[in-house]
Amino acid sequence: MLKLHNLSKVYRTEEVETVALNGVDIEIQRGDFVAMMGPSGCGKSTLLNIIGMLDNPTGGDYFFFDENIANYSESKLSELRKKNIGFIFQSFNLIDELNVQENIELALLYHKIPSGERKRRVAEVMDRMGIAHRAKHMPGQLSGGQQQRVAVARAVVGDQPLILADEPTGNLDSAHGQEVMELLQSLNAEGTTIVMVTHSPSHADYAKRTINLLDGHLVTDNIRAA
């Protein structure tokens, strides 16, 4: 599905040059469930952002479905991203001024889907996530776990083949965290490719494959026996 070759990312300010990623090679297949681990500052979030096309690499190649998109412009990336990638963030990133239903619908808003169809799909995904009774609530009225469910719902409602999750359980207690992990696992079982950044080894265990990063390098890449 996607292949990173000798990918690097360097942040430059006037005096300091920080290497966030240094020659990373990864290939992710369709149906993978990848957990990326490593200490703070190892570059895992940067890597996820590049995979998610939110950021451009400074060097190397990024093949997405055999297309090298490393130097694509923001508007081209935006088109690709829209079709292929759903996002889940640690801080949920729901829009405070929109209610649950509207937040989820947002993921379909830019897809030229008729309003009726959007409503139907949002209702369906809310049912699936068990948040239908919260449809008209504002994010501020929900618990962290519920907010993350909304975020997951928003990530999957577009039926994108790839979901990127940046510490999806970081802001949640263990019970809610487990719940979200189970959700992700079942999504993966249905065929969605998932790449997740996490600090928690136990949550990493839900994934089929664990990648360890340190100081911008790929250290280990373990595929767990099924």
């Binding site: 939110l54 509207e102 808003l109 830019y110």
Partner: protein, 813 residues
């Protein structure tokens, strides 16, 4: 999708109520002013449209020769001699009619009063579609006919059904009312600020009262002396212009071409507008437009600035939308929809305010301005859209340019994004309002000085009588003199009266006759222009004008008194400015100097200077220094009565009873000199009031904007402030920090505003001859005022923030 945009826009407005209110109110005020001024200018430009065929009616406009040194360049007036020529030569013209107005006594059953009567060619009633209550378009065909408006009929005769009523004009000729027309709407050039047209009479009968020549005169150009031309609909103003030019070239003598350099056809709708252009010297609509543009600019900048600051707080939303696949165009659209929404709300408020103030304005100014929604709708919508786009484009561009990852991380908010542009906008806003304040201060100070300077004449102690000897034969000088003497003696007998004089001009008047004079008999090349002022000898006493050399004029010396068409040698007194103009160094040297009139067609007249008096200014209210000569004129029709200070209340009754004794058949008309001054000074007061109003509004918007923006910036720097406090900064140090952030743009804004204000105020001061010398000081004061006001506005926030518990500040984020 647009529904989603609107929804989020509304919820955002609700969430940030303070900013929403500031934004909308600021923009609403700006739009109110802008729409109001546009409507007003539109109104003034759209007079007389209710007349049928108004698009085929033209007036002739005269452009004056610049060498004539007149206070206006052109006038909606033409010599009465054109109409007969047009009638004879231009067969294609449907009708041509002239009007001349005159103030005459109207005597109804023994009661008389002065009325302005518009003498017109009878065909005027064919050109203008007046509505007839009684009578018809033929009403002016009898030479003794009068056409009266409904209001005038009720005022004069107590009933609108006044056809057949007889009045005595000028106490000599009977006229009969032949038609009553509905009152001419206020938005017609027939009704100007100088008066309403209510009584028409045939122009031929003007010969009964004046030396009007039915074939017209070449130099009777004055406001209200209008020539109307009605064209068939297949001909236009270009055609008429060519014909008029040809008539001008063929018929106007070189002498008269010296007065009027060209004539032009002017569509009827401009007839009112050119009134505006003639008065005041400054084109008021230009002043209005510029001021309203400044206001709307401030309002838009205000909105842009606040919206930009505020939208940075929404960068996370932008980040989310971008990760969801929103393109930049879609996001731009979203934010523009929001600003258009705000601008629409502001427009609705503006329209509501206008609905309230237009009736008030109409009441106060005697106008009938209307807000016609249907006609103005496209323009209103366009303005709303334009305001929304103009104000929204920068904030939208700013917020959507961030990459999604930066947007999510809220980099924009924390970074030093676009502070230069923001500071520039604050500065611009601030400089406009400072400029206006500075202008107000200078205009006000100069006006006060002009008022003060005009104390030169004791205007609180003089009562001016008009129309003296108006019904007497102007050639019978002895009779005129007799009446003046009689009046003077009777008036002097009133206990509180100090002195009485007669003249043909009184101070502050705007029109004046001029003589072209040479020091060599028959020389027409080396000439100077000196204004002439006909007086009686006591004029100098009434107005406290000191004699510098020579003697006073004396009515008993024959060469001291002017006889029309008789005097060959006339003794005169010059004022000091005339000496300068003639190049005479001392007053003593001027005595016995001989001067010669260069006027053609009159007997060569010799002037002998017998005295020199000091009178620096006389005409207008701006203290203009002009050259004058005084001569004794028994045809003087104005009386100046100097009375004891403080006796003005009772004096009018005493004067009235004297008048009744001497001129029993004529109504008395008069006013205090201070009234004449105020009337002529009105324009400058008006200008100041307008400026003050506009600058107050500008200042309010700018301050509200600054308040909002500083609130926002303060909120942004909350964390920094918390850190500083933890590290030991005092409240005052922190307040200083925030105030300084705003001081930079404010300071450069004030400096540049003051520079502009300096040039602008110099321009204004040029209207006056005695100018205030401390205008720079005033400008500096205005600058300090706005800086301090700005500091207070920002300081309020800074202080509040600085006093907060540091932990609250740190927890912010």
């Amino acid at each position: 999708m647009y529904w989603n945009y609107l929804k989020i826009a509304l919820r955002n407005l609700r969430k940030n109520k303070l900013f929403a209110v500031i934004n909308i109110i600021g923009l609403a005020i700006g739009l109110t002013i802008y729409v109001f001024v546009s409507l007003l200018i539109e109104y003034e430009k759209n007079h007389d449209l209710f007349f049928e065929n108004n698009e085929n009616i033209y007036t002739i406009m005269s452009v004056f020769n610049s060498g004539m040194d007149l206070p206006f360049d052109q006038m909606n007036s033409a010599s009465s001699a054109y109409a007969p020529i047009i009638d004879a030569e231009l067969a294609d013209v449907e009708s041509v009619a002239r009007t001349r107005s005159a103030k005459l006594t109207v005597n109804i059953n023994g009661n008389s009063q002065f009325e302005r009567i518009t003498f017109a060619d009878p065909v005027l009633l064919n050109i203008f579609s007046f509505e007839y209550l009684y009578g018809d378009r033929k009403a002016l065909e009898n030479p003794d006919a009068l056409v009266v408006t409904e209001a005038a009929a009720i005022r004069l005769f107590g009933t609108a059904d006044a056809v057949g009523q007889v009045v005595l004009l000028n106490n000599q000729e009977s006229f009969q009312v032949t038609a009553i027309i509905k009152d001419i709407p206020l938005n017609s050039h027939f009704n100007t600020t100088s008066g309403k047209t209510q009584i028409f009479a045939p122009i031929g009968s003007l010969q009964l009262f004046t030396d009007f020549d039915f074939n017209g005169r070449w130099r009777d150009i004055w406001n209200g002396n209008i020539t109307y031309i009605q064209l068939p609909s297949n001909l236009d103003s270009d055609w008429l212009d060519i014909q008029l030019e040809s008539i001008y070239q063929r018929h106007v003598s070189d002498y008269n071409k010296g007065l009027v350099s060209s004539i032009h056809a002017q569509p009827l709708w401009r007839a009112n507008y050119s009134n505006w252009e003639t008065v005041g010297g400054v084109s008021i609509d230009l002043v209005f437009s510029v001021l309203s543009l400044l206001i709307i600019t401030i309002a838009c900048i205000n909105y842009t600035n606040l919206a930009a600051a505020q939208s940075l707080g929404r960068s996370r939303e932008v980040g989310i939308r971008k990760t969801m696949g929103a393109s930049r165009t879609e996001l731009l659209c979203q934010f523009l929809v929001e600003s258009i929404l705000v601008s629409a709300v502001a427009m609705i408020i503006a329209i509501t305010i206008l609905e309230l103030i237009i009736p008030l304005f109409n009441n106060a100014t005697n106008k009938v301005m209307q807000f016609k929604y249907l006609e103005t709708m496209p323009w209103l919508l366009g303005t709303t859209l334009a305001a929304g786009l103009v104000t929204g484009i920068y904030p939208s561009w700013l917020i959507t340019k961030v990459t999604p990852i930066d947007a999510l991380r809220d980099v924009a908010r924390k970074g030093k994004y676009s502070t230069a542009i923001r500071e520039f906008m604050i500065g611009l806003q601030f400089s406009i309002s400072t400029f206006l304040i500075a202008a107000v201060v200078v205009v006000y100070a100069q006006n006060e000085k002009a008022k003060e300077d005009n104390h030169l004449f004791p205007r609180q102690e003089v009562y001016v009588l008009n129309n003296i000897n108006s019904n007497e034969d102007k050639d019978n000088v002895d009779l005129l003199q007799l009446k003046l003497d009689l009046l003077q003696n009777e008036l002097n007998a009133i206990p509180n009266v100090k002195k009485v004089a007669f003249s043909n001009l009184v101070p502050y008047s705007n029109s004046y006759p001029t003589q072209v004079i040479s020091t060599v008999a028959g020389d027409t090349t080396n000439t100077v222009k000196i204004n002439q002022l006909g007086i009686t000898p006591s004029f100098f006493d009434v107005y406290d004008i000191p004699l510098l050399a020579g003697r006073h004029l004396n009515g008993n010396i024959s060469n001291d008194k002017y006889h029309y068409n008789v005097s060959k040698t006339l003794n005169i007194i010059l004022n000091d400015q005339a000496l300068d103009k003639l190049g005479i160094e001392t007053p003593e040297q001027a005595i016995n100097t001989r001067l010669y009139s260069t006027k053609k067609r009159t007997v060569l007249r010799e002037y002998v200077v017998v005295g020199v008096a000091s009178m620096p200014s006389f005409i207008g209210v701006t203290g203009e220094k002009t050259a004058w000569f005084f001569y004794v004129d028994p045809t003087s029709s104005l009386g100046s009565i100097r009375f004891m200070d403080g006796s003005d209340a009772a004096i009018v009754d005493d004067i009235k009873s004297v008048w009744k004794k001497i001129f029993p058949a004529e109504p008395m008309e008069g006013e205090f000199l201070s009234g004449i001054f105020n009337e002529n000074f009105k324009f400058f007061v008006f200008l100041n009031a307008i400026l003050a109003g506009f600058s107050l509004i500008a200042l309010i918007i700018a301050m509200v904007g600054l308040f909002g923006l500083s609130a926002f910036i303060a909120a942004q720097r909350t964390k920094e402030v918390g850190m500083r406090k933890v590290l030991g900064a005092s409240s005052i140090q922190i307040s200083k920090l925030l105030i300084w952030q705003f001081s930079k743009p404010v300071l450069w804004a004030v400096v540049s505003a003051l520079m502009f204000a300096f040039f602008a105020s110099n321009k204004y001061l040029q209207y006056f001859s005695d100018r205030i010398e401390y205008s720079i000081l005033l400008l500096l004061l205005a600058g300090i005022f706005s800086v301090v006001l700005g500091w207070i506005t920002v300081g309020a926030h800074a202080y509040k923030l600085a006093r907060e518990n540091p932990i609250i500040a740190l927890r912010h984020e």
